[in-house]
């Protein structure tokens, strides 16, 4: 029983960089360009792993700890992620709280590493990184309250594996639709995608995540990149599972359909990135608050109409 989740975990670890490249490809397609190869992220990682590193004279040990802790948090969180309808490698009652606080730990260290450089731009990015996820966290816990109300359970497995979330869709379809959109907005915010942050922008003043890692280089930067691939993979898997909540039966078939849906989620992120511009910084909180409102409505609907 344990072997399938473990296989999936290893597959996820290996394939997350590939999926992120899909976004780049989609963007290139919209721009009428050929775009980088789909394996670009692997090449970049290998290149970075081979390199040495340059450290700013302002930095301390925290600067080196940052990438390690954020990667570690992302890898630990993946262990709790149910994929393709199969249960996660690990789970316990209340693991959702642990997961989102662990991602918070990763964020704490990313911010601390940015503040370590004494750079005004990185400080600015850090301030934004500290701000927007607060609203995301509120939304996430709102969604958790709703899911708890529906399942009486506090584990990701109970919401996303086995007969779920198909069961949830059938008993509470309309709230789940809101949850899906809210979760997608959280995905965009937490992973610094357009319209919250533009990973491809060239002006440091307008960046959030990218500006925070300006001074990292070599293997440290590779760790950060890898961590962000895993984080995006985590949220995308949740969204993918919500979009296509069924489990065909055969293991290979299962993985196949899950990969396909996951692929579509990344394509959607890419499409949004291609057709939209980043919001002005002061508009971003309003955008993120939309997810909170949606989750709030979902809870009200559940409370009033679904028993």
């Amino acid at each position: 029983m344990m072997i399938k989740p473990l296989i999936l975990y290893v597959l996820a670890m290996l394939s997350a960089p590939f999926f992120s490249a899909v976004i780049l490809k989609v963007k290139a397609f919209f721009g009428g360009k050929k775009g980088p190869p789909l394996l670009i992220n692997y090449y970049t990682l290998i290149k970075l792993f081979k390199k040495g590193a340059v450290y700013s004279t302002s930095t301390t040990l925290i600067f080196k700890l940052g990438p390690m802790v954020s990667l570690c948090a992302a890898l630990t969180v993946l262990l709790f992620l149910p994929m393709g309808g199969y249960p996660s490698v690990l789970s316990f009652n209340g693991d959702v709280i642990f997961i989102f606080y662990l991602l918070g730990l990763g964020r704490f260290f990313t911010i601390a590493a940015a503040m370590d450089t004494a750079s005004p731009f990185e400080g600015m990015g850090a301030a934004r990184e500290a701000y927007f996820p607060i609203i995301c966290e509120a939304t996430m816990f709102m969604i958790l309250v709703l899911l708890y109300k529906l399942t009486q359970d506090l584990q990701l497995n109970a919401y996303f594996s086995g007969a779920q979330p198909a069961g949830l869709w059938s008993i509470a379809g309309s709230p789940m639709f809101f949850v899906l959109i809210a979760l997608f907005i959280i995905l965009l915010t937490e992973n610094s995608r357009v319209p919250v942050d533009d990973p491809a922008t060239h002006l440091e003043l307008t960046m959030i995540h990218e500006v925070m890692v300006l001074d990292h280089s070599g293997p440290d930067l590779a760790f950060i990149e890898l961590g962000s691939f895993y984080k995006l993979f985590f949220y995308s898997s949740l969204v993918a599972r919500l979009v296509f909540p069924f489990k065909p039966g055969h293991f290979m078939l299962n993985i196949g359909q899950f990969t396909l849906v996951l692929f579509m989620v990344y394509v959607a992120v890419g499409v949004i990135e291609s057709v939209m511009a980043r919001y002005r910084m002061d508009k971003v909180p309003k955008f993120v608050l939309t997810s909170f409102v949606l989750a709030f409505f979902a809870t009200i609907i559940t409370l009033e109409f679904i028993r």
Binding site: S58, L71, Y101, G123, A127, V145, Q152, P285
Partner: protein
């Protein structure tokens, strides 16, 4: 009970003896710290024993046959005694090197005297079993801490802070007196235990009165106004004790009254949870807006009291709706957070004290780069920051985890219970996020980056006593975070003593929960070690270059260009504008040759502003009109006394 009194005797004698050794500064400190410390160790051992052997320990003395001074230690008292003795012990050790000015021998001796009295009175507050003993200890605690706050009475700001604290603690005490007065007039007995016989409606009145009274000590919004003034004024080890444990006596008072009144109405839980959510969110928002590191920590105490209240409220809702799991989770989470907060908040105050000692400033935006020179302090402060942000695998997470578990259980309930549990969960999530923003700000601006001004002393760590205290506290933050089992067991003993009709709550059902936290923390550490090994492997034999920070094309960066703490928090504060209005003082630049100008910004505390407008001004106006009573003529004063006696004799 004998060990308990012995420890109190030793602690107080340490304070008194320090006065006798005025001329020998170092010996005085050694005697005071030695006696206070050993008293605390005895008290700590004794209270740990009592916590795990829950019988009621009683002692009573008759004073002049007028009333009895009596004490009783049950699980709840023992639970609160543990942090009181533990934090005081470390604060005493810390003070050995903190109080290092031989020129202020008298002030130091007085400080130790009141410090001893404060510890003893806190221990007496949580063990008092009748009204007289309780109020006596309570007043002793308020007064001794008042004298500790005005330790540096040379500065007018400190005297004002002391005055404010004095007013607040006595207005608070007045409410407690009123509540006990109501109780006494009905029962005619000084024993606290008789509170259970009150009729339902009186019970609610008594609870609300004590909630206000104890709330002003605990720092519940909007009664927290004294906290951000008193903490920056007091010496750091005193701030650590006041914020770490003294304000918890307010929490103890609320819990004790809840237990004694034995009220089963949902109203109490509703009041407590609501107060908790308001204190929690506003506390951390104001904390984020502060420019003074100790003020920031003081506001953060308001936030943590909020979290504790949310836990207690969830527990109370659990009790009133008959949900045992929720009740135990809520109360145990709250008690665990009481202990955790006493650990990391005293750690943070001690760290802040160390930094202030060296840099000579309390302004966050004037600091920077402290970590490079003060590694031990820096990393201890980092652990404290992580813990207070509630992140795993540190102790702050553990308490919040159990409160969450209780809250989610409440989501399964109906109507008001559902709404409040729901709001409590969202508030906890928001508080967690804001606390992280707040403490990344402190750590990032104070300890990281480059120095923003020249410091008073060279940054170095040569005070083993101060470092030892911080290291012990930081280690404990990690230990509780990874092995919460035994500490959760202690909290359960406290919950058992609350008498929720559950008897002695067994540990077994919760072993898996604490075990899960332990194993996932271990898992995290294992993965971390793997990554660390990978990193070491990757960097093997490579050349690591040093260069300046990338200035985005700018080649002449200065430390003044760094992002400041004020800008760091600005956009979040802006989101909370209605409750945290920004007050700017900025004369406009004018003329052909503009003169130098300045800019001053401050986030106003709405509680302070409105309390000034609504309560203090009318009261001052009224008293101004009543001034004619105070005319200075002794004959008329004697007349007043006579009149009062006559009125009392004939009409009451």
């Amino acid at each position: 009970m004998n060990l308990f009194f012995l420890s109190i005797l030793i602690i107080v004698s340490g304070g008194v003896l320090s006065l006798c050794l005025l001329t020998r500064f170092t010996q005085m400190k050694m005697v005071a710290v030695g006696l206070i410390g050993s008293g605390c160790v005895i008290g700590l051992v004794d209270s740990l024993y009592k916590l795990f052997h829950p019988v009621s320990y009683m002692a009573s003395f008759n004073y002049l046959n007028a009333f009895a001074i009596s004490f009783e230690t049950d699980g709840l008292s023992a639970f609160f005694l543990v942090p009181i003795f533990f934090v005081s012990l470390l604060a005493a050790i810390y003070s050995f090197h903190y109080m290092n000015n031989p020129g202020e021998s008298l002030k130091t001796a007085v400080n130790y005297l009141f410090f001893g009295v404060l510890i003893a009175s806190m221990a007496m507050v949580v063990t008092a079993s009748n009204i007289i003993t309780f109020l006596l200890s309570w007043e002793l605690m308020s007064l001794s801490s008042f004298f500790l706050v005005i330790h540096n009475h040379g500065s007018p700001a400190n005297r004002r802070a002391g005055y404010l604290y004095f007013v607040f603690s006595h207005v608070g005490a007045m409410f407690i007196f009123a509540a006990f007065g109501v109780m006494y007039s009905y029962t005619g007995s000084f024993d606290l235990i008789t509170a259970a016989t009150l009729p339902e409606s009186l019970k609610i009145t008594v609870f609300v009165l004590t909630f206000i009274g104890f709330g002003s000590k605990a720092g519940i919004f909007p009664l927290h106004v004294w906290l951000p003034h008193a903490h920056p004024a007091a010496p750091s080890h005193i701030s650590a004790v006041m914020s770490g444990v003294m304000i918890k006596t307010g929490i103890y008072g609320i819990l004790r009254m809840y237990m004694l009144l034995d009220l089963n109405t949902p109203l109490l839980g509703e009041i407590v949870v609501t107060a908790g959510m308001i204190s929690g969110i506003l506390g951390v928002v104001y904390a984020l807006a502060q420019h003074d590191i100790k003020r920031l920590l003081a506001y953060s105490s308001v936030e943590n009291i909020g979290i504790i209240l949310i836990g207690m409220g969830i527990g109370m809702i659990g009790v009133s709706s008959g949900n045992e799991f929720m009740a135990v989770m809520g109360f145990a989470g709250a008690l665990l957070h009481v202990m955790n907060h006493s650990i990391f908040k005293s750690l943070l105050f001690m760290g802040a004290g160390m930094v202030i000692h060296k840099t000579g400033t309390q302004a966050i935006d004037a600091m920077g780069g402290v970590l490079k020179k003060m590694k031990v302090t820096g990393f201890c402060f980092l652990i404290g920051s992580l813990a207070i942000s509630g992140l795993p695998p540190f102790n702050g997470f553990v308490g919040e985890f159990f409160i969450y578990m209780g809250g989610f259980k409440g989501v399964g309930l109906d109507k008001t219970a559902f709404v409040l549990s729901h709001l409590a969960i969202i508030s906890l999530a928001v508080i967690g996020g804001l606390a992280m923003a707040c403490f990344t700000k402190v750590f990032g601006v104070v300890f990281q980056g480059e120095a923003r001004s020249t410091y008073k002393h060279t940054l170095e760590e040569k005070e083993p006593a101060m470092l030892t205290s911080m290291i012990i506290l930081a280690a404990l933050c990690v230990v509780i975070g990874i092995f919460p089992g035994i500490f959760f067991h202690m909290a359960l003993k406290g919950v058992s003593a609350l008498g929720l009709g559950l008897g002695d709550v067994p540990m077994e059902p919760f072993l898996t929960m604490t075990g899960n936290i332990t194993s996932s923390a271990f898992l995290f550490l294992c993965i971390f070690i793997l990554i660390f090994a990978l990193r070491t492997r990757l960097f093997k034999g490579k050349i690591l270059a040093k260069a300046g920070t990338w200035g985005c094309g700018f080649t002449q960066p200065t430390p003044r260009m760094q992002y400041t703490g004020s800008s760091y928090g600005a956009s979040i504060i802006d989101f909370f504008k209605p409750v945290a209005p920004l007050k700017e003082n900025h004369p406009p630049v004018s003329g052909v040759f503009p003169k130098t100008t300045h800019y001053h910004s401050q986030i106003e505390d709405i509680a302070e502003v409105h309390m000034g407008n609504v309560i203090i001004r009318p009261v001052l106006w009224l008293f101004d009109k009543l001034r004619f009573i105070q005319h200075g003529d002794i004959h008329l004063y004697i007349g007043y006394i006579l009149l009062t006696i006559i009125v009392l004799l004939f009409f009451v």
